[in-house]
């Protein structure tokens, strides 16, 4: 057991943010709700630069969206006065919701990416305090043809190659776009991904991708969970191939990858777009250790009956060894595994709908430890 490590678990819900800390990933101390009555659709935990910065997308139905950050585990929050993410005047656009906050690689401290609704990608070079609109994607000639998924027209996934300038963005419902020049220019990369709901089921773009994630150990390999379809590319998005065989359903929202190990990814299958519940009401995570050739059903510790779905960002991994796997349901229950999904335990239940879950190994030296508002097993 990694007793020397400290873990932080951030849970964004429809009505606020809860933060939890733990030393063993079994007993958790909670603080929250932060931002009560605002939804938290995105969280980034940045452990670079010798600090722990929690960045959150916050959206109030009344008072609009914003981005806040905390460097003291939620004891205090800072919101840039002019807003961290605001559209330039010439665009005539206004931010609706921040869907993704993605700290870049260790080698690029201070760089943080964001994805937003309306479909847009943003980049910060000051640790997430101010973001600039990516004009290459905003001015893309395809933009007027990108649709809106049920949840909104959003750039919801950003994956940056730590070693280079490759950036992949996934959007609902535009598909996957790739930049080879750090975000200056973008091209659709959806070959092999079906869009059965369109007149041409194999269009250049318009696929409804739900989440993408990169294999940490294999250059150019990514995984995608789509609106019907689970895929892998081994050539940096040039071609995608189905890896859905062996799963109980090819629908779902989650796609997680291991922080280090080749070929390891997790999905949470849902039955179909018409039902959107775990197959037969039996919740399970499925993990592949061979890049999608085979899948293992993981449900130890999960309830026998569960009819709530798991949203695209309501799942995360930590970087410990073994890696931790976390997810939350729309029914407000969060589960954690300290052994890569082999066994799960309930962390907390009866929260509002869980929209976003992120976990990280952090240093809590000198930081206030959240008061225990609810602790399971403590």
């Amino acid at each position: 057991m990694a007793t020397a490590e400290n873990f932080v678990l951030a849970i964004g819900t429809k009505k606020g943010l809860w933060l939890a800390t733990s030393q063993d990933r079994k007993q958790w101390s909670f603080s929250g709700p932060h931002f009560l009555m605002s939804e938290i659709p995105s969280i980034g935990i940045d452990t670079r630069d010798g600090r722990t910065r929690i960045m959150v997308g916050v959206r109030s139905e009344h008072w609009g969206p914003t981005v806040a950050h905390s460097d003291d585990l939620g004891a205090t929050w800072t919101e840039p006065e002019q807003g961290a993410i605001t559209f330039p005047e010439d665009t005539g656009a206004a931010v609706e919701r921040i869907w993704q906050i993605y700290p870049d690689a260790e080698s690029r401290p201070g760089v943080v990416w964001a994805g937003a609704e309306p479909i847009s990608v943003w980049k910060s070079t000051d640790g997430g305090e101010h973001f600039e609109l990516n004009r290459g994607l905003w001015d893309h000639p395809h933009r007027s043809d990108w649709g809106a998924g049920y949840g909104g027209a959003a750039a919801h996934s950003i994956v940056v190659n730590p070693a280079g300038d490759n950036v992949h963005v996934a959007m609902s419902t535009g598909g996957v776009y790739r930049s080879l020049d750090g975000g200056e220019s973008w091209e659709p990369r959806n070959k092999g991904i079906s869009a059965y709901f369109m007149p041409d089921p194999n269009p250049e773009f318009g696929q409804c991708v739900h989440k993408i994630a990169a294999d940490a150990a294999v250059e150019g390999r990514l995984y995608a969970q789509n609106h019907h379809g689970v895929y892998r590319t081994d050539d940096n998005g040039e071609n995608w191939n189905s890896i859905a065989e062996g799963l109980p359903a090819d629908f779902g929202f989650v796609m997680l990858t291991h922080p280090r190990r080749e070929g390891t990814a997790w999905v949470v299958p849902l039955k179909a777009d018409g039902e959107r519940i775990p197959p037969e009401g039996k919740l399970a995570v499925h993990r592949t250790d061979d890049a999608g050739a085979t899948w293992k059903r993981l449900d130890t510790g999960l309830p026998k009956g569960e009819y709530n779905s798991v949203l695209r960002d309501a799942a995360g991994v930590d970087s410990s060894e073994p890696a931790g796997v976390y997810f939350g349901t729309r029914g407000g229950t969060v589960y954690a595994s300290a052994d890569e999904g082999e066994t799960f335990a309930e962390v907390v239940s009866h929260l509002p709908d869980v929209l976003c879950v992120r976990a990280a190994v952090v240093s809590t030296a000198g930081l206030p430890v959240p008061e225990t508002a609810a602790a399971r097993g403590a």
Partner: protein, 95 residues
């Protein structure tokens, strides 16, 4: 010079330094939009809570002038006279 007052709901008062009423001097009628520009100039976070970056009033923010919600009048172009009170009230919405 008479003032025009903007009355804030309690939830927004921390963003205005704890004030419940913001006032702007006026020697004639002003529009609601310019009034908001004036009273939120020192409180940019408050400004962003009321209007988005295009300047549009947020959907569930209601502003009343003389008892009428400005969307039923001329929106942010609605004129306000010195001595009048402008109310900011959030919609009853959501669950």
């Amino acid at each position: 010079m008479p003032d025009i007052s903007v009355v804030l709901p309690s939830i927004l008062q921390p963003l205005a330094g704890g004030q419940s009423i913001l006032t702007a001097p006026a020697d004639g009628t002003v529009t609601v939009g310019s009034l908001l520009d004036s009273v939120t100039g020192d409180y940019p976070v408050l400004a962003r809570r009321l209007r988005d970056e295009t300047g549009a009033l947020r959907r569930y923010v209601n502003i009343y002038v003389a008892g009428d919600e400005v969307r039923r009048l001329q929106g942010l172009e609605t004129e306000v006279s010195p001595g009048q009170e402008v109310l900011v009230i959030q919609s009853v919405a959501g669950g």
